[in-house]
Every structure is written in structure tokens, then in C-alpha cells.
């Protein structure tokens, strides 16, 4: 019997997810022993046509990382969806939009203006911007269309499972692969990670005081961080209480607050909203002005609370009225 076939693909991502696969280390040999990796652009020389030539459903599973924000990515994930029995959204960007998802605070024009005109290091006197089509002597050249809105994978194609994290923790990847091979999967739509917040596994949990409220929120560079005390109790915006565990408390163990890459647990509908609500509850004052002062110390609240999940939020993106030329996709 032939081995199950597996594909890895990347969309709008940084490549960290691919690293995470490599981080399996010697374990990757076990994976290769058990499966055939038939498509992995970052590592192996297969082409789109190779996938196209497969039968529908021939791939046992496709691990797709990155958010979806271009016509090319759209085509590729639809192709992979068709060819795969299972699709796993791999990493924060595919799961909840990730860092690229913060582009939803802007629109395509604003991004182009910034990247091609406004950045101080750019010299672009001819005001050249990428064109989707270009008539060259050799014929018409095309580039994929960049969407106005960054989307999560499941906003584009049906997704069977999610592996959270930026990147997903190695042990969760290994566990997921093993579950897929053994057919021991939870109900479709599940996030393949424990369903409880980080505090549960954080080594600092025991040091939490009874009263978590804060007179002042601080940033990591502003204080000498106590290596044992609960980070939130030190006034740092540690998002551990809002974030799914499963990373082995990697950041808090390394003396850095959790930034929330693992996303919310299953009964939180909107990560950033919950984070905002929870953190606002911790402002230690009943005086409106003082509360304002305490919360104003939080630099870039959207970037802080929706760092990995703006496209998956209830609002998806900043609102552009159609009358102002806004397009929601």
C-alpha cells in the first residue's frame, strides 16, 4: 500500500512555519518514513502542475500556512482543497490572520503608497507601482492581484483542523501528524491544541496574587523583569490568560510576556475584544480619569490585542464605506 501523501504550502507568511516543520529535527525522518511529501515549495522542487495532475482527494492532508491575500494564494488553496482529504490551517496566519492580518487596518492603496512612495529609503521618481498586467515584447506579463483585505484560510476554503501558534509548537505538530496517521482526530473544526489558557501551564502561575489589578501597565523594556513572578502581576501586558496553552509557556519561561500567538480557547468568540475587556478590568481605579490614564499607557491597542487575529475578529477590518471607494475584499 502506498504511503499517505502530504503537502505543505505557504501563503502570506514569513517562513517561520516552514522552520517549525524543520524544527521537528530527527523526528522529521519518522514523518518522511510514514508519508510521502509530494508538494512543499520551500523545500522540494514540485510544481503547481504536479498538484493539478493529482486526483481529487489524493492528498491525505495539506498543511497550509499563511493568511490569504492574493489571487494566486486563493487559486492555490482552492486547488489544494480539492486535492486533499484534510486541510489543516497551520500557524497563526492561516488560523486567525496573523501579523499580515494587521494590514486590515489599511487598504491596498494606503499600503502601496507607503511601500512605494512614502518610505524614506525609497527613491521612486517615476511613481512606479506594481501592475497586474504588463505588455512586454515577449507578451503579456501578469502578477497576482493583491487583495484589499487579508483573510484567514477558513474565510476562503473549508478547513478541517487548525494548528495554532507563531509558529506552531513542534510537539503539537508531531502530535497532529500522528493523530492524522492513526485516524484519531477530534470532531472536524477543532484546534489541535489543549483547550485552556496559558496560565494553566505557566511556571509563574503559583506566584499570582489575589488581586491582579494594576495601577500602571508597563512594557518589557521599562522594568527589570522578575524571572519568577507572574508577568501580569508585574504590570506587563502578558496575554497568557487570554491565550490557548500548548506552547509550553515558551515566552514566559524566557522572561517575556505572552503576545497571544496561540489564539483564543474555543469559547472565546473574538480574541482581541476579550483581551481588551479582560485587561480593562484590571485597571485598578474607580476614577474615570485615572482609568483613562492607566489604559493610555497601552501603546497600539489594536496591534497589541489583535496582533495575530484581526482578520478573524468580528470586525475583520477597518470599515471603508463603499462610497469612498472601499472594497471589503
Amino acid at each position: 500500500m502506498s504511503k499517505p501523501k502530504v503537502a505543505f504550502y505557504w501563503c502570506a507568511s514569513c517562513g517561520g512555519c516552514e522552520e517549525a516543520v524543520v524544527d521537528l529535527g530527527p523526528d522529521i525522518l519518522k514523518v518522511v518514513e510514514a508519508v510521502d511529501i509530494v508538494f512543499w515549495p520551500v523545500a522540494l522542487d514540485f510544481k503547481r502542475s504536479d498538484v493539478e495532475s493529482m486526483l481529487d482527494g489524493e492528498l491525505t492532508v495539506s498543511f497550509i500556512n499563511g493568511a490569504v491575500r492574493s489571487s494566486e494564494q486563493h487559486e492555490m488553496v482552492e486547488l489544494l482543497r480539492r486535492k486533499s482529504g484534510l486541510v489543516v490551517a497551520f500557524g497563526s496566519c492561516a488560523h486567525t490572520g496573523g501579523i499580515p492580518g494587521l494590514a486590515n487596518l489599511f487598504d491596498r492603496k494606503a499600503m502601496f503608497d507607503e511601500a512605494y512612495f512614502n518610505v524614506p529609503s525609497v527613491v521612486n521618481d517615476e511613481k512606479t507601482v506594481p501592475q497586474e498586467e504588463y505588455e512586454a515584447p515577449e507578451g503579456t506579463l501578469t502578477l497576482p492581484n493583491l487583495w484589499n483585505t487579508v483573510k484567514t484560510l477558513d474565510q476562503v476554503i473549508p478547513v478541517d483542523y487548525y494548528l495554532p501558534g507563531c509558529p506552531p509548537p513542534v510537539n503539537l505538530i508531531a502530535e497532529a501528524v500522528s493523530k492524522i496517521l492513526k485516524g484519531e482526530l477530534p470532531p472536524r473544526g477543532a484546534v489541535l491544541a489543549p483547550d485552556i489558557a496559558l496560565c494553566d501551564e505557566c511556571p509563574r502561575k503559583e506566584t499570582k496574587p489575589e488581586k491582579m489589578s494594576q495601577k500602571q501597565f508597563k512594557r518589557p523594556h521599562e522594568i527589570m523583569i522578575d524571572p519568577e513572578q507572574c508577568l501580569l502581576a508585574q504590570g506587563l501586558l502578558c496575554l497568557g490568560p487570554i491565550t490557548r496553552k500548548g506552547c509550553g509557556a515558551a515566552c514566559t519561561t524566557a522572561n517575556m510576556p505572552c503576545t497571544g500567538c496561540m489564539g483564543p480557547i474555543s469559547n472565546v468568540i473574538d480574541y482581541g475584544m476579550k483581551a481588551l475587556s479582560a485587561v480593562a478590568s484590571l485597571a485598578d481605579s474607580n476614577d474615570e480619569e485615572e482609568i483613562e490614564k492607566i489604559l493610555s499607557k497601552i501603546v497600539d491597542p489594536v496591534g497589541t490585542f489583535y496582533r495575530y487575529s484581526l482578520p478573524a475578529s468580528l470586525l475583520h477590518r477597518y470599515y471603508q464605506p463603499a462610497a469612498q471607494g472601499g472594497k471589503q475584499s
Binding site: 483547550d195 485552556i196 496560565c199 499570582k208 491582579m212 483564543p264 484590571l282
Partner: protein, 668 residues
């Protein structure tokens, strides 16, 4: 995101939508017919209809009939505010054997018809709210009220006339009452007064029998010189710690014979006598006044040489034949369980020195009304004589109303008693001194039974009334007649002129204020305060002695300025409310409480400090939070804060709220 959709027993939910006309209150703005037609188009709606008054019996019967006929199993009533009629419709559902929590109100009166003149907009908004209610009610689950047994003992805090009356009423009904008073004796302000308006009864004569009844009552445990230190628990089941300060006298042995007081090394008073509001001095060992209850001496640790320096000959000990003096007494903490609490902590009088232009504390012969109360009292420091600092009787006396009342710079409210007691003092001063008495008033407020008649009586007694707020009191004489006098300058608004009235003595009719530590007390008992600092009743008209904390009731002036009859009436009402609660034997708790989905709690402790009702604690064994449903009032603070969504609230789950929002938005 899992959907908590409990389907009806027969599968799909069957929703009945009932749109109320409320006479023309709603129908005058909202097109009810169109709204009903719209409701019929909504998913899962099996009945949509209208009626003139849904809250009327026929209206309720419509719902009950549809429930019994199996046409519907969930009810949406589009009518007024839930505050108004939610209980009505829930009761109607119970009577039809339906669960009362499969019910939702769409408020199309207060939120719609009463706030717009635009009929079209009103109809559209009514539709949106009905769409929201229909979308939400699909997620409603049957809930049960829980019953908790009630402890039958009652705590009364404060031993003034309100606390005394409440305690006696409850004790007479056979309840065990703990009466806690912070002073060494009960009696409060009333014990200090000479006569009471408008009948001129002797205050002590009507109060002291009640005080001794308290002392003697087998159902009352009286703890004076004591304060409530801690309150835990909830309606029907409060756990209270009372701090009993050491009075250094064994209460059960002392008979109040005054031998120890007479024997004290200090042969005269050395410190301000609290009971005589500083008009006289008392010794370190003292009995507040002859009818003090309990009639037990007390030693002031601040001035007693033995306690302060441990070197006194202790003649008091030798003088006491009953060996009642005990310098080793320590603070004692008593723990009690009570089912209800009545707060009767009273008031303090306004500090007249805060209004410097009235010269209190600067000029001699300017007194507060409470000081004059003591002065005219036959048992007071002057034996009932009203005299000046030099011992002479005053020939002219000015009484200044509204000192610290009806004044935006101090207290904007009317203290309600000052007009009447000023009239009373005017009468008593005139009676004792035959002086000319001038009352300076803004408005004469005499709206009680027999009060206006008392005012009429005073008018006939040739007391002068000048209508105008006093501008200033000084000793600055401009004409020979003013030399050596206090000059009261006021605009007489009836004649339209500024007048200067020279007098020998001034009485400042000080208003009533909340105690300084009211915030502390408020927190202790978990009640709210108005912005002035008076304890806030649950409803100004329909629940005037209840608070927002079930089982905690208010009596007397701690809720707002009051005279004696009102305080007593309110104390009786509070006692009746407490009895109603206790005699039922159980309390029913609304199920709109927060609950913890334990498997999702990471033990982050975000919720711990937030609960205003102390319902959340940390379970150290499981390392997660824990909600006491009996304490939870359903405010939702913890639910909003819980970063894991592990805390949810019955009737307000995230999904129910989102569904409701979606309902509105999908319509709009």
C-alpha cells in the same frame, strides 16, 4: 464556537410574539399591525399577534392558552420595560406550566414609542427589537430559581430611635435581634433632645421606656460600644463579625452606681463630654447620662491614667463593691449568623465652623442647635437654663435656619427637621428667658401632621420671623445699640431691605449630614450611597427601606434627613420587610447568575478582585476560581473580564448577546 441551542421537546423552537398596544402609549407611534405581520415572517415564530394591554388578564391568558395548546414554547412580548412587567409575564408562564425563563421582552415603549415622534422610525425600530428578541430566545434554556434557607436572627446596626424601634418590633415578633451601637449607650440623638416637636413631649420621657425595654427584652442582645467589623454571606445567610471594644468594666457586674466615677483621681471632668456636645466635661471613668442603657460605666483609654501610664492608685477599683472594673479587658470579636440586617446608623450634625461668616467658634454666644438642645434640657449641663457665657440671660436671640442646608456651597438638600426644631427652640427659649427671638428663614417648611399648627402657634407667641438667608454674623457695631452685641445681617426679602439685627445670642440651626465614615460602612454592608452620602434605597417610592443588596434594609436618617416620626415609621417598615423575608423561611435566587465552566478556567485570577458582591473566591485545591451562585447578583462584571470565556452568565451568555445584536443588525 459551540451553539447552545436546546431544541424544543418537539424539535424546532416555537416562538410566540405578542405585541402590546399599551393603549395608545405604543400604538400611537408604532404601526402594530405591520409589526405583527413582520414578526410572522421571522424564523421559528409560530404565533404573532397583538393586544391592547398584554399585561391585563386577557392578555396574559392569550399567552397561556397558546402555551397550553402547544402552539408555542417560547414567548416574546413586545411592550414596556422588563423592569415593569417582566415579573408579570414570567408569572403567567409559570401558571401555564412553562419555564418562565423561555421568555424575552422587547421594550418598544420606553425605548421606542416614548422617545420619538416619527411613526415610521418607531415602527422600524420596534421590528428590529422584535427580530433581536426572536433571534435571542432560540438560545434560551429553561432555568430554575434556587431556594436557600434563611437564618431567623436579625442584626440592627445603630441604637438611635430608628434602631431601637426596629429592634423592639422584631423582638416582639419573636425574632432574636442583635442590636449593635458604637457609643457606650443607646439613645442616639433623641436622647439629647429636651422636647420634641410639635407636641412638646419630653424627649427622654418617651424614649427612655423604649431604651429600657431594649435592655430588658429577652430577644434582644444589646452590644454597645461595639462596631460591625466584617460582613460576609448573602441574603438570609449573613455571617457578621462584631468588634466589642473594651470598656474596662464588666458589663454583667456593674450596676451604674456612680461610686467609681466619684472615686476617680480626677475630681472634675477633664475631657469634652460627648453627650453634652462639649458644653461640659467628663472624667476618664464615666456614665454618659443617668438613663444610659446599659447603665454601665465606661473607661476612656485616652485619658485614664492607669490605662495610659499604668500608674494610678486606682481608687475606682477600691470603690467598686462588685469588682466590676477590669483593666485587662481586650477587644472581643463576636461572630453571629443573621438572616437580615437593618442599617440605622443615623446622621451627624453639620459642622457650623465650615461657614466662617457665621462666626461659630470665633464669637462667644454663638451656639449650634444641638448645643442649645442640651442647654434647654433640665438634665443638661446648665440644668435647663439658657444663659450667655457671662451667666446672664439673653434678651435677644437670633435663630438662623438652613445652616449647612439648601446651600450649594455646603449641602444642597433640605434637612427637613430644622424649621420645626427651630420653632421648638424659639418656643423653649422664649419660655425660659422671655427674650425676643428672631427666626431667619428661607422658606418655612412645616409639612408634617400638626406642624403647620405649631408654626401658627409660634406666630401668636410673638416670635419674629425674617424671611431671608443670613449673610453674616459679626460683632462689628455701626450704631450704639449694636455695641457689645452680635449683629445678624440679612436681607429681609419680604420688605426688600437689608436688615441688621443686634442680638445677645445666636442659634445656628445646623442641618443633617451623613457620617464621615459612610463610605467605609457602605462598603462593609455592600450598599450604595447617593452623591450626598445617604444610603440609597432600592426605589425612592416603592422600595424605600430596601437596598440593592437583598436582606439589607434601611431605617432612619442614614437614608436621608428625617424627623422622629418618619424615622420610627421607617424603622417599623424595615422590621416588617425583614420579617417578611425571614418568616418565609427561604430566599429564592434569580438564576441570572454567573457560572464557571471549570474545564476552561486556567486560574488566571483576573476575576478575583472584581466581584462587588464577594461571590468569587479561589479554590486552592483545584487551582481555579469558584463562583458562589447564592452571592452572585448577575452584574456580569466577571463575565466580561474572564479572558477564557470560562465565566458565563445565565440569560446573558456571549452567544445570546451576539444573537440579539445580530438580530438587530440583520434587520437594519
Amino acid at each position: 464556537m459551540s451553539t447552545v441551542n436546546i431544541p424544543s421537546p418537539n424539535g424546532q423552537p416555537k416562538i410566540g410574539v405578542y405585541v402590546c398596544h399599551c393603549g395608545i402609549n405604543i400604538a400611537g407611534r408604532v404601526d402594530v399591525k405591520e409589526t405583527v405581520a413582520f414578526a410572522k415572517t421571522l424564523p421559528n415564530v409560530t404565533v404573532a399577534t397583538e393586544y391592547k394591554f398584554m399585561c391585563s388578564d386577557p392578555g396574559q391568558e392569550m399567552i397561556q392558552k397558546d402555551l397550553r395548546d402547544g402552539k408555542i414554547d417560547r414567548v416574546v412580548v413586545a411592550s414596556c420595560s422588563p423592569l415593569m412587567h417582566e415579573p408579570t409575564f414570567r408569572r403567567a408562564m409559570i401558571a401555564a406550566d412553562a419555564n418562565p425563563f423561555l421568555f424575552q421582552m422587547a421594550n418598544i415603549r420606553e425605548h421606542v414609542s416614548w422617545v420619538t415622534l416619527d411613526k415610521n422610525a418607531a415602527t422600524e425600530k420596534a421590528k428590529a427589537l422584535i427580530a433581536a428578541a426572536v433571534k435571542r430566545i432560540v438560545l434560551h434554556r429553561p432555568l430554575e430559581k434556587t431556594r436557600v434557607p434563611v437564618t431567623s436572627d436579625v442584626l440592627v446596626v445603630g441604637g438611635g430611635i430608628a434602631g431601637i424601634h426596629a429592634a423592639l418590633t422584631l423582638a416582639e415578633a419573636g425574632r432574636k435581634v442583635y442590636l449593635v451601637e458604637k457609643e457606650p449607650t443607646i439613645g442616639g440623638h433623641m436622647a439629647k433632645f429636651d422636647k420634641t416637636f410639635p407636641t412638646l413631649d419630653c424627649s427622654a420621657c418617651i424614649l427612655t421606656p423604649k431604651m429600657s425595654a431594649v435592655r430588658a427584652h429577652p430577644n434582644i442582645i444589646l452590644w454597645t460600644y461595639s462596631e460591625v467589623a466584617e460582613v460576609e454571606g448573602f441574603v438570609g445567610n449573613f455571617k457578621v463579625k462584631v468588634k466589642r471594644k473594651p470598656r474596662y468594666i464588666k458589663e454583667d457586674l456593674c450596676v451604674g452606681c456612680y461610686e467609681c466615677v466619684e472615686a476617680c483621681v480626677f475630681k472634675k471632668g477633664i475631657t469634652k463630654d460627648e453627650f453634652n456636645v462639649g458644653l461640659s466635661k467628663r472624667r476618664p471613668i464615666y456614665i454618659p447620662f443617668p438613663q444610659a442603657t446599659p447603665l454601665v460605666a465606661v473607661i476612656d483609654p485616652e485619658t485614664c491614667v492607669q490605662i495610659k501610664r499604668n500608674k494610678c492608685k486606682k481608687p475606682c477599683v477600691d470603690a467598686c463593691e462588685r469588682d466590676a472594673i477590669d483593666f485587662d479587658q481586650k477587644v472581643e470579636i463576636k461572630e453571629i449568623d443573621v438572616g437580615a440586617i437593618i442599617l440605622a446608623t443615623g446622621f451627624k450634625t453639620f459642622d457650623a465652623s465650615r461657614i466662617s461668616r457665621y462666626g461659630y467658634g470665633k464669637y462667644p454666644n454663638i451656639y449650634t442647635s444641638l448645643e442649645v438642645e442640651r442647654m434647654v434640657n433640665a438634665a443638661g449641663p446648665t440644668g435647663g437654663e439658657v444663659h450667655l457665657q457671662n451667666g446672664e440671660k439673653p434678651k435677644t436671640v437670633g435663630i438662623v435656619h438652613c445652616v449647612g442646608s439648601r446651600d450649594s456651597k455646603t449641602n444642597a438638600y433640605c434637612s427637613r427637621v430644622c424649621c420645626m426644631y427651630s420653632l421648638k427652640l424659639a418656643h423653649l427659649i422664649k419660655e425660659r428667658t422671655e427674650a425676643e427671638v428672631y427666626n431667619f428663614y428661607i422658606d418655612m417648611r412645616t409639612p408634617g401632621k400638626g406642624y403647620e399648627e405649631f408654626y401658627e402657634k409660634l406666630l401668636k407667641e410673638n416670635v419674629h420671623f425674617i424671611r431671608g438667608r443670613v449673610a453674616e454674623i459679626s460683632d462689628w457695631a455701626t450704631i450704639p445699640e449694636e455695641e457689645g452685641k452680635l449683629v445678624i445681617r440679612a436681607e429681609d426679602t419680604l420688605i426688600g431691605a437689608v436688615r441688621r439685627i443686634p442680638v445677645d445670642m445666636v442659634v445656628l440651626s445646623v442641618g443633617m449630614e451623613p457620617h464621615e465614615n459612610v463610605d467605609e460602612v457602605r462598603r462593609l454592608f455592600n450598599v450604595s450611597c447617593s452623591h450626598e452620602g445617604w444610603f440609597l434605597e432600592r426605589h425612592p417610592k416603592l422600595a424605600p427601606v430596601s437596598t440593592f443588596t437583598d436582606g439589607v434594609f434601611l431605617a432612619g436618617a442614614c437614608q436621608g434627613p428625617k424627623d422622629i416620626p418618619d424615622s420610627v415609621a421607617q424603622a417599623g417598615a424595615a422590621a416588617a420587610e425583614a420579617l417578611a423575608l425571614i418568616d418565609r423561611g427561604y430566599v429564592e435566587l434569580e438564576p441570572n447568575t454567573a457560572y464557571l465552566q471549570e474545564e476552561f478556567c486556567s486560574g488566571c485570577k483576573t476575576c478575583l478582585g472584581l466581584c462587588p458582591y464577594g461571590a468569587i473566591s479561589f479554590n486552592d485545591e483545584k487551582n481555579i476560581s469558584s463562583v458562589n451562585g447564592a452571592l452572585c447578583k448577575g452584574c456580569g462584571t466577571c463575565v466580561a473580564a474572564c479572558p477564557s470565556g470560562a465565566l458565563q452568565q445565565n440569560l446573558f451568555t456571549d452567544e445570546q448577546i451576539l444573537h440579539e445584536i445580530e438580530g438587530v443588525i440583520s434587520y437594519v
